[in-house]
């Protein structure tokens, strides 16, 4: 007797595949933090290295007036990180003049940024102190530079 060849049901296959991928998407949700909102949009992303500068600049935005010039440095200095920090300053400090201390992974000439009125330092407090401390958070410090 001939047996009819069984073909898989495309609907069942698609449902199985979609259930698997939805489960995988759910697995990516950071459940461990519960319903607590993360500090920044980047805390659990693959770009979590920039979470401190995001948090610090968001907090610093209140104290840095419109039109002021600002430079964001890493402590210890790091050309790659400072490249990203400058980009974050442009976005998160609108209306201020963000000066780059690094560009595409290379330090810029200090003449470009050393007259900045405000200095944001991501990481430990710099020594010697570069001016008047305006804000200190676990992510870093914000300074009004002493020459101003």
């Amino acid at each position: 007797m001939l047996r009819r060849r069984r073909t898989p049901d495309p609907v069942a296959i698609a449902l199985l595949g979609s259930a698997l991928l939805a489960a995988l998407a759910l697995w990516h949700v950071p459940w461990r933090q519960g319903l607590v909102r993360p500090r920044t949009l980047y805390d659990n992303s693959s770009a979590r290295a920039v979470a401190p500068v995001y948090a610090l600049l968001t907090a610093a935005a209140i104290g840095i007036p419109q039109g002021a010039s600002v430079v964001v440095r890493a402590e210890p200095p790091d050309a790659m990180m400072e490249t990203w920090y400058h980009r974050f300053a442009v976005a998160l400090l609108p209306g201020r003049r963000a000066l780059p201390s690094a560009f595409y992974g290379a330090f810029t000439a200090p003449e470009l940024w050393r007259d900045a009125e405000y200095l944001v330092v991501v990481g430990p407090k710099p020594r010697p102190e570069p001016g008047r401390l305006l804000l200190e958070t676990p992510d870093g410090t914000v300074w009004l530079r002493s020459q101003h």
Binding site: P10, G17, A19, L21, P38, R87, A91
Partner: protein, 449 residues
């Protein structure tokens, strides 16, 4: 409050697209799909209106932009003269499989929402340029050429297509300020829109359960890739939304003809205006569809015009702006055209494979492929999504080959995202009909009998 207002601005999109989608020819689409398609068309029209405003040196203001965009939508109806009214689709009670599929799609959208709110899916490009430009342009009430020209802002990619920045700037003007969390939530918002609109679009030929299952597969695939490749707040999800809706329209036999092709063309316009790689998608899908559908040369020319004219108009306006302000003349930064570095070929293949397997262990790409293979013999029209996938993959590899230095790091950043449409096309391919229906072929000429 500003965050809610920022997102609420997107409610204007379906309202702007409504004058076109209210045409009787679109009566064949279920109301939810019609609203989502109206939002897609509205996005294209608002972006085009903003580009034309800035090209003309006029300041961006919400009401004139929305009015001009709605006027463009209404004016598009001119191309639908003689299109007959189409009956509304019959509504059938969802069976268990359809309900299960809808639940999976809903869970996938919630997962995208949870990942975004949990800070696990945000794109760094949101801060680097999509959001930064939108915020600046909203403040300047137009594309700020001085800002883009600054040497320190070279990384902003002045030539990038304008749609996503325009829409973000539109929402920023409505809310009074840029809201970063709301911008990131556009990932879940666009995915939710896709989950709502796609089943009704696919139901044209398939049963309700098959349409819902295919839609759930697409939505879960994109939720998975989007969360793991960090697309929240960048242009990838809007691009995927427009591409998926356009491809679903293209595969729907009863949606060819003037009305279907025009709407597909407007969604193509949105895709090509969202990201650089939207353009090869549009060109490949249109060319393959025109060949596969058949028809006389005159019919194909008319269909080509409907499919491609909106894209040509939008990009012409954008490049006219770039050239007139001496800001950009082409899509640059990818190296000299045809200056291929073939020595990077093996490394590029390995880097792409590594990037894809690092994203959910490669499952969001492999599962749709396996589902397509498991679905059995594909319809002839599956050439459209599969040919488009091949063309897009070829374009991406071709682009990577132009990089003078080792592009491994660039691929690690981008491949998981830019190959996402390929996975979506695998998921849609089993849905393609065996032959272009009689209506499709007649529709190529846009002259209903």
């Amino acid at each position: 409050m500003a965050g809610l207002t920022w997102l609420a601005a997107f409610v204007l999109l379906p309202a702007v697209g409504a004058p076109l989608l209210a045409h009787r020819a679109y009566g064949r689409l279920p109301s939810t799909s019609r609203a989502v398609m109206a939002a897609g068309a509205g996005a294209a029209f608002i972006s085009l209106a903003m580009t034309l405003f800035t090209l003309a040196g006029a300041r961006w203001e919400i009401a004139p932009i929305a009015a001009a965009a709605a006027l463009l939508a209404w004016g598009s109806r001119f191309f639908l003269r003689g299109e007959a009214a189409k009956a509304a689709p019959e509504t059938a009670r969802a069976d268990a499989a359809e309900s299960f599929a809808n639940a999976i799609a809903g869970i996938a959208v919630l997962a995208a929402l949870g990942a975004t709110l949990g800070g696990a899916a945000t794109s760094s490009d949101l801060v680097f340029f999509w959001g930064a430009k939108a915020q600046q342009f909203a403040a300047a009430r137009g594309v700020d050429t001085a800002f883009l020209r600054e040497a320190a802002h070279q990384y902003m990619h002045a030539y990038y297509p304008p749609l996503v920045v325009n829409l973000f700037a539109f929402a920023t003007m409505a809310a009074g300020r840029f809201v970063w969390t709301s911008a990131a939530l556009t990932f879940a918002l666009a995915l939710g829109a896709l989950a709502a609109g796609l089943p009704g679009l696919l139901r044209g030929r398939l049963s309700g359960r098959a349409a819902a299952a295919t839609s759930a597969l697409v939505v879960a695939t994109l939720a998975c890739i989007g969360s793991q490749a960090d697309v929240a707040g960048n242009a990838d999800m809007p691009l995927l939304l427009f591409e998926t809706l356009a491809m679903a329209m293209l595969l729907r036999p009863d949606c060819a003809g003037a009305s279907g092709d025009l709407l597909t063309g407007i969604l193509f316009c949105a895709a090509a205006s969202a990201k650089v790689e939207g353009l090869p998608f549009v060109l490949a899908a249109s060319a393959i569809a025109l060949v596969v559908r058949g028809g006389t040369l005159a019919e194909r020319w008319k269909a080509a015009l409907r499919l491609l004219a909106p894209t040509a108009l939008s990009l012409a306006a954008w490049f006219a702006f770039g050239v007139s302000r001496q800001l950009f003349t082409d899509y640059s930064e990818y190296g000299r055209f045809f200056d291929i570095h073939a020595e990077h070929g093996p490394g590029i293949a390995a880097a792409i494979l590594r990037a894809l397997t690092d994203t959910g262990r490669g499952l969001p790409y492999v599962v749709p492929l396996l589902c397509m293979i498991g679905a059995g013999r594909l319809g002839r029209m599956a050439i459209i999504p599969l040919g488009t996938a091949a063309a897009l993959a070829g374009f991406l590899v071709f682009t990577y080959l132009h990089h003078a230095n080792d592009p491994a790091q660039w691929i690690a950043w981008s491949a998981a995202r830019v190959f996402a449409p390929v996975a979506m096309l695998f998921a849609l391919a089993p849905h393609a009909p065996a032959t272009p229906s009689e209506e499709t072929r007649r529709g190529a000429g846009g002259s209903p009998r």
